[in-house]
């Protein structure tokens, strides 16, 4: 009896230990980033390690916002992300809906093709994309970068949204069409309200991926007119200086929109992602 209790307690302790280990592993870099962003330069570059800022300052935040191109970088990221999301939502929703509800020749082949596209490493796609964008004069532009993002985010969007549309009974569209809607009308008026949680979740996935993307942005943008924050931040590392405090502050500022988005739609998102599993 006693040994059974003890073994149960050991299991609980073990489970918590694993959970805390991964929590630490995930959170420690972010916590360290916050601490670093609040330290003055002399506390960051020091022989003795300080675990918390002795005299915390906000100068890093003020400086990166006022004395660098960081606001422009943020704005560029914002525009590119918005464009990516809009393209994915408009085209991807229609595509996912037809994949889910209609029968047409080549449907399965196309769906698999989208999946295969995702299997290639991004590096392989950059050179052809570079050439295509250059041919269309879209290099170093918001739209060009957004289109490049859709090349790998659209398949993700379509596959996820197809999952949500699959849970909608086909009769609903038929009923709406008989009630006087066109197919697109039925989609907008009757079907979309049912999958809006899923749509929000999927759109945010795409938004976060586009917001944080680094490699495409590095290769496809050349000027400050379209450069996004991950690239801009990296370029602040100079040959002779490494402004740790500024970089940390920039990092923190740039994850704020992501955190806000998550906070706003957290519940919707969780509901959306589990909708397929537990059918209401």
């Amino acid at each position: 009896m006693a040994s059974l209790k003890r073994s149960n307690r050991m299991k609980t302790v073990g489970a918590y230990a694993v959970a805390f280990f991964f929590l630490f592993f995930g959170l420690a870099p972010i916590v360290w980033l916050i601490i670093t962003s609040l330290k003055p330069e002399h506390e960051i570059v020091n022989r003795t390690l300080t675990y918390y800022p002795h005299d915390p300052i906000l100068t890093n935040y003020v400086d990166i916002w006022n004395q660098s191109s960081f606001p422009t970088l943020m704005m560029n990221s914002f525009i590119t992300t918005t464009m990516t999301v809009v393209i994915c939502v408009v085209i991807g929703t229609l595509a996912a809906y037809s994949f889910s509800q209609y029968r047409f020749p080549g449907k399965h082949a196309l769906l698999i093709f989208y999946l295969v596209v995702r299997m290639f490493p991004a590096v392989l796609m950059i050179i052809p994309l570079f050439l295509i964008l250059r041919a269309f004069g879209l290099l170093d532009s918001h739209l060009g970068l957004a289109l490049a993002y859709t090349s790998f985010l659209m398949p993700l969007f379509i596959w996820m949204m197809k999952g949500f549309f699959d849970t909608v009974p086909v009769e609903l569209e038929k009923a709406a069409r008989i009630d006087g809607c066109t197919r697109v009308g039925a989609l907008v008026r009757v079907i979309m309200p049912l999958v809006r949680n899923g749509l929000a979740a999927t759109a945010i996935f795409v938004a976060i991926a586009a917001w944080n993307e680094y490699m495409f942005a590095l290769m496809l943008t050349t000027s400050s007119g379209s450069r996004t924050w991950p690239v801009g931040l990296q370029l602040m590392i100079g040959e002779f200086q490494l402004p740790w405090g500024l970089l940390a502050a920039g990092g923190i500022i740039s994850i704020i929109p992501v955190i806000i988005l998550f906070a706003l739609v957290q519940q919707t998102m969780v509901r959306g992602l589990t909708a397929g599993a537990v059918k209401g």
Partner: protein, 369 residues
């Protein structure tokens, strides 16, 4: 005026032909039931009438308009689906009004129509609820209300009662019947349930593998089935089918049940009018069909259209006693009165009215008499 006429309607999905030239028509105020087993094409046919599915060939006329190329919304039809297809995000009131709203009917008329239909179906107290908060029967009513509210030319019902439990199904069935009697609406109704078909229809089209086997009134379908398929599909327990031959003997003819040359064959002499309308070729192989309920007990030994047999199995349903027996080496059933409670192996003499004997060609399976 014909409310609906279909001529030579065909539908092909790739190589598969699911409708093979359907001709049908329905009078104004009629109740047509498309009856058949699953996969016979009845729901596809309904979808074609609704415009949800395109036809490969043929013509669909609703009223006096050719509807082949009309969008579903322009056909002036309403449809009730098996899964109800209520809009989950809208209240019952919005569900009912949606069709009117899409047709830009003004608010006051919409509200009035919704109230009228809600009262008619007894769902007035549910108007503010969402479909998820309703029971199966209530959803069914709302689905019917959504069809009724627009007052269309043609109502299409796609197995509307199959998701309900047995008791509710019977109740809703009689409500649909009452509604049809009262409102004189024109209805096309798809079902695989022969009881629904028999009780509701003014005309039944029995379908099988994309073809109409027989299109007639319920009593005609029951009393004079056109072929073995219709005979077997309608009626419960199923009609007894017994292989046999017509044997001409002098002026009269008789029916020899059983396979040729067997010792246990039974011969039943037929009155002259039993073979009316058929070529009574001697020795013609037939399938004799006798409904279990057409058989009755005959006291005082065999004779006339009677035959002797033994009780193989007794099933007491309460309302009646179903007796299984063997005649000429073939199994059959008789539906007898409930006060008759035989034991296994008892001798039994059964008889039937010659007017209720169905004879089918053994090769073509078509009706002969």
């Amino acid at each position: 005026m014909k409310a609906l006429s279909l001529s030579n309607v065909r539908k092909r999905f790739g190589q598969l032909e699911v409708l093979k030239g359907i001709d049908l028509s329905l009078d104004d105020g009629g109740f047509l039931v498309l009856l058949g087993p699953s996969g016979c094409g009845k729901s596809t046919l309904l979808s074609i009438i609704a415009g949800l599915e395109e036809l490969t060939d043929g013509e669909v006329k609703i009223g006096d308009r050719v509807a082949n190329d009309l969008h579903p919304k322009d056909r002036n039809i309403a449809m009730v689906f098996q899964s109800y297809a209520l809009y989950p995000s809208m209240s019952v009131r919005r569900n009912l009004a949606f069709g009117l709203h899409m047709r830009r009917v003004d608010q006051a008329t919409q509200a009035e129509a919704v109230e009228r239909v809600a009262d008619l179906l007894g769902i007035a107290h549910l108007l503010e609820r969402r479909p998820a908060q309703l029971s199966g029967g209530q959803r069914q009513r709302v689905a019917m209300g959504r069809a009724l509210v627009r007052d269309p030319e043609l109502f299409l019902f796609d197995e509307p009662l199959s998701n309900l439990d047995a008791k509710l199904r019977v109740q809703m069935r009689s409500e649909i019947k009452k509604l049809h009697n009262r409102l004189k609406t024109t209805i096309v109704y798809v079902t695989h349930d022969q009881v629904e078909a028999m009780t509701l229809a003014t005309s039944i089209a029995v379908m099988r593998e994309g073809e109409i086997q027989q299109n007639a009134s319920p009593s005609e379908i029951y009393d004079r089935p056109a072929n073995l398929f219709v005979a077997g599909f309608v009626g419960s327990p199923q009609m007894n089918f017994l292989d046999g031959r017509i044997v001409a003997a002098g002026s009269g003819a008789s029916l020899e049940l059983g396979h040729e040359g067997r010792a246990d064959n039974a011969t039943i002499p037929l009155p002259p009018d039993a073979l009316a309308g058929m070529e009574a070729a001697d020795g013609r192989p037939v399938v004799a069909g006798i409904r279990p309920e057409a058989l009755f007990r005959q006291e005082g030994g065999a004779g006339g259209l009677g035959f002797g047999t033994k009780v193989d199995l007794v099933e007491i349903t309460g309302a009646d006693t179903i007796v299984s027996f063997t005649i000429a080496g073939q199994e059959a059933m008789a539906r007898l009165s409930a006060d008759f409670k035989p034991s296994l192996g008892d001798d039994l003499t059964l008889a039937f009215d010659p007017g209720r004997l169905h004879l089918f060609d053994r090769e073509t399976s078509n009706r002969l008499n």
